[in-house]
Symmetry: C2
Subunit: 328 residues, 2 copies
Amino acid sequence: MITISDIAKLAGVAKSTVSRYLNGGSVGEATRKKIERVIEETGYSPNKFAQSLKAKKTNMIGTIVPRLDSFAASQTLIGIDEQLRALNYQLIISNSSQSLEREIENIYTLANQKVAGIILLATEITESHIEALRKVQIPIMLVGQQHEEYHSLIHNDYEASYELGKYVLENGHRRIAYLGVTERDVAVGVNRKKGFQKAVAQQSGCDVRYFETSFKIEDSINIVPEIMKDFHPSIFVCATDNIALGALKAAHIMGLNVPKDLSITGFGGYDITKITFPGITSAKFYYKEAGNVAAKNLVQLVNGEELKKVSLSRYKIIERESVDKMMD
Amino acid sequence: MITISDIAKLAGVAKSTVSRYLNGGSVGEATRKKIERVIEETGYSPNKFAQSLKAKKTNMIGTIVPRLDSFAASQTLIGIDEQLRALNYQLIISNSSQSLEREIENIYTLANQKVAGIILLATEITESHIEALRKVQIPIMLVGQQHEEYHSLIHNDYEASYELGKYVLENGHRRIAYLGVTERDVAVGVNRKKGFQKAVAQQSGCDVRYFETSFKIEDSINIVPEIMKDFHPSIFVCATDNIALGALKAAHIMGLNVPKDLSITGFGGYDITKITFPGITSAKFYYKEAGNVAAKNLVQLVNGEELKKVSLSRYKIIERESVDKMMD
DNA sequence: CTGAAAGCGCTTACAG
DNA sequence: CTGAAAGCGCTTACAG
């Protein structure tokens, strides 16, 4: 373990001079050369803890994710990592395993580690969240959900869903099963549903029924056949790609041809939806890009710069083969 | 920011006493009570940096992953996280984006952050890797690949592949395309191939051809039709599930019925392989469990305990519907 | 441009 | 059981 004192001694200068050299202060040419050489030779690198202890801040950014094994989370993380690296920050990923409690815990733990800021990939924002965020007093970026008190980057769930709804309707579907999730998740449960409802409201003669399932593929596999029996829709409009994946599997199990016998749409644009057979039409979000933006925004916050309260990320309807064109 | 001095003052004792209280040293009953109360009231929690600066070690464990968006990596990470949390260590995830260079960089960065140990989800182990690992002098666990100098946890690629090969042969397949990857990846490129070859060697009348592709689904989608044209195997034995996923997509594009016209096997047991149509027969590895073990092992190393050089993780052949039973 | 000194928040011998 | 002091490796005014 080689320290700043060693460098100072070897270079024949004071510690403070080495420190100044390290931090871009004014150092004479000759001194600079000497220090440079010694550092080069020794492979010295400053002790982060000592630095942080003085500076009372770090270059670490914490990101709390609800789960590590989801396409959306992974891609967002990749985007955050990419950007943070470019900005010279170190990313710390903290997994909450879909436990709201652990999410809160992680906020405190990260604060305790003196991260410069926190990115929260949010699902639900409860009172305890707000309480924790208020207490820790650290710059925060919310991703995926919004809250009036904090800065956020959200996906354009409402509009994307509206547009996807129009697409479904334009293709002649009238008997529709909408397969959503809990409304406690405002982005996915509420906004996607509302966007879709807006599209439906503009079209007469629709028979739309709303159902609720979980985020798990398995649950979707199970509920779809039941709905088919009772309601017999021509299409399932699913609130996430995982739900759509389950619907597709269910269709195959029932021996139904997709899209002829049953159409399906997803939401999210997970990579896997282009690999399935048939490919699934979906509203794609650019998660990686969103991660980029979230990271950039947070660093602005950390630097005390101005930032608008909410940023919107891009989306695009990806048309594939899972929706029957009933008009033809 | 409340410090140990504040607590000491409020409790009317010396800093050293508070420190002793915190670290389980001997403290009188009355003193203990007082300190306890003050800490409770203030919500004090010690500054990690100051602690680490003194102790010269931390409770952080670094994990370097080649990518964040792979089933294997995510699951392993979840397992590591789970175990580390239980053992009171903090996980730092470091993404190398499939760049060997960045992997090396990350080793140094983590060392610089004074992590107590490093888990490396390895793909290739080059001389630079070894050099870096030697330099940083930190306990290391390799996952997925092995090296005589370091402790590792490996998947049983060889045996799993042997068994899967036997299964394929038992089902009557003789004209077989083996779709592997670069041999620089010893685990996936070499061991899986060798295991399969062993099975083939025990069966006469086989026409097996070996092909190489990348880890990308797209490349597999492209190469499979070419192979079909030239060779026309009854089955593709794929070195990873992603490759199998590509083969399945290619089959659908070619209008082939799987498994009747073309059979497919995968490797890894990714969740998605049970959702596809048909479900893909695959050699499943228990990644999460492997992560658990790797974490536990590393902590043993950190604590200076004995540990056998290499641990093997479990596997299981998962039979689904993608292999035609030609014997019937 | 350069150096001596103080201090960041802890822990650890060492006395008592 | 308890406290005063030194020290971990840095940075930051302050002099010169």
